[in-house]
Symmetry: C2
Subunit: 347 residues, 2 copies
């Protein structure tokens, strides 16, 4: 650091002297996870505060193999599920004493961003709602950088995938529609080339089939509200209209409720039952009361950060899939309770 | 770096030799903003790719006074305005060749997070939707770390505040209500101790007053949907009910429309006009068609990143307020057009 940084000249030795503790006690007080007594920590913090000392993470990274930086790549924060997932993930990374270097990239193309993150020597890389090219997977493996994918299952080596059990939850929605007497049951897909959309369709079909029903029709809404409007118009314009639609996320399901009411004059759930996925805040709003699947975001990010910590310590080859149990939340849009949220275990 | 990192041993010299260019050409190819011909860049990238070389930002930061890291502190990503602002800000930081270290903190308490960011020697600190304590302001100034606040105006030294012109836009909504013949006009505040909520109330009152009207009633909704539900019930339960409500953000305005229709059987805009702030995606949904203010997020983040770049180069003391012109978007909730969005300059 140049002389421009006034506080750069205060060292851990100065803090140790003023606090009356050892140099290594100062170091431990500023190392995430290291033990130091409460009394010593208080002395160190008081002295550091008086002197304006701050530990230098960059200098430390030259003497350890860690930067305490975690690279996070995400996308489409206009989707509330992605935004909430990012917030909880960053909070969990903070709690573990690390910091998130966050990049935005496309769902499918992010090689340049990953390159940039590797140049910061991140301890690990977390991909949420996005994929990893096989070329990048090789580069991460060569540099021993662990990669954790959240909400995507990636068929490449050296990766841990953390997702909710998309198939189980989607099967539960299929069975719910059949039990409620619906017979013309449709599916609205998200981005067709994502594992989440494929797994939800597979599970939904399996649930229907288990009770002797089959899929009536389907359309692609690309996980967006606009895409949902278009796909809902397509499905509802059919000469034999569906009487139930499972949308692969809430944004598309909310759009479907609007289109059914405004463009087709339908009653939800009377004429058309609608279910979504994500249990976003808007699903609980009085206008929608949308049945949805809670993916358990806190459980997903906790698992992801545990995997980071294990991988940073072990630096081993890994390829694992972690499945988080989701919860079905039934509301009025499928004939569920009018106002009280009754979380129901996916059955 | 330890020997665990395989690619750490490939140097810029290796890349220069393979690419047949000078060592300094390799360095320039990886320095944001530095000039290098397209042909040379292609050679360097091909060689770097073959060798698995990546520039080491940490080593570089020891020889320059920069880390190319920008600290970002934000909050409440369940508010779509905050989520979209964060996405655009990170994208703009990426475009400028830097990376965002992102933390989540409370609206009012974030000292510990700022401390942590300073330990990463960030080039600058950006606060979105959150404040800076005067103690921290002193620490940032002492370390010569420039601070940029977005969507908050902070009354402390050494800070650039970038906000939309909250007063101008709010005055336009006040005048719109009066021109549409409304006489019992209410305000729903956000977080009472934020500059955005205070500026919007001040502007709204000024707009009413300019056309000879005064505020009928007000309530506090704390910028959240739940808070908006409570505040709307409070305002609409009054024996003399308001016939127009300006809510300081869209989340509260959407809640107000739901409460007016579902709990009080009112027609919007017939019985009650509602306007919000942020022009979030949901404001355009068919169910709401909500009049709102577009804050021009791209303009805000562009200004913020320009301020970062100027501050990093100049390292001067600064205290400035940048005002971005907002746009009023009139929709059905105030008697505006039924389906086509007509952005109208705040007049």
């Amino acid at each position: 650091m140049t002389e421009q940084s006034g506080s750069g000249r205060i060292t851990a030795n100065d803090v140790a002297r003023l606090a009356g503790v050892s140099r290594s006690a100062v170091s431990r007080a500023f190392t995430p996870g290291a033990y130091v007594s409460r009394d010593t920590r208080a002395k160190v913090e008081r002295a550091a505060d008086l002197l304006g000392y701050r530990p230098d993470m960059l200098a430390r990274s030259l003497t350890t193999s860690r930067t305490f930086l975690v690279g996070v790549i995400t996308t489409h924060l206009d989707n509330p599920f992605y935004a909430t997932l990012l917030q909880r993930l960053i909070e969990e990374i903070q709690r573990a004493g690390m910091a998130a270097v966050t990049f935005i990239a496309d769902e499918t193309s992010n090689d340049e961003r990953i390159s940039q993150l590797l140049s910061y020597r991140v301890d690990a890389l977390v991909l949420t709602n996005t994929s990893l090219s096989s070329k990048m997977s090789v580069r991460c493996a060569r540099g021993d950088t662990p990669v954790i994918a959240i909400n995507r299952y990636l068929e490449v080596d050296n990766i841990v995938s953390v997702t909710c059990d998309n198939e189980l939850a989607s099967a539960a929605i299929g069975k719910l529609f059949v039990k409620k007497g619906r017979r013309r049951i449709a599916y609205m897909a998200g981005e067709p080339d994502t594992s989440s959309s494929r797994d939800r369709e597979r599970g939904f079909r399996a649930g229907l089939s288990e009770l002797g029903a089959t899929l009536h029709s389907s359309a692609v809404g690309n996980y967006s509200h606009d895409g949902g409007v278009r796909a809902a118009r397509e499905l509802l314009s059919s000469s034999v209209r569906p009487d139930a639609i499972f949308c692969a996320n809430d944004l598309m399901a909310l759009a479907t409720v609007d289109v059914a009411r405004k463009d087709f004059g339908l009653d939800v759930p009377g004429d058309l039952m609608v279910a979504g996925f994500d249990n976003s805040d808007a699903a609980a709003w009085a206008t929608y009361r949308l049945t949805s699947v809670d993916q358990n975001i806190p459980g997903m990010v906790r698992s992801a950060v545990e995997e980071i910590e294990a991988a940073v310590v072990e630096r081993g080859r890994m390829r694992r899939r972690v499945l988080i149990p989701p919860t079905l939340v039934e509301r009025e849009s499928t004939g569920g309770p009018k106002s009280i949220d009754e979380p129901k275990y996916g059955s």
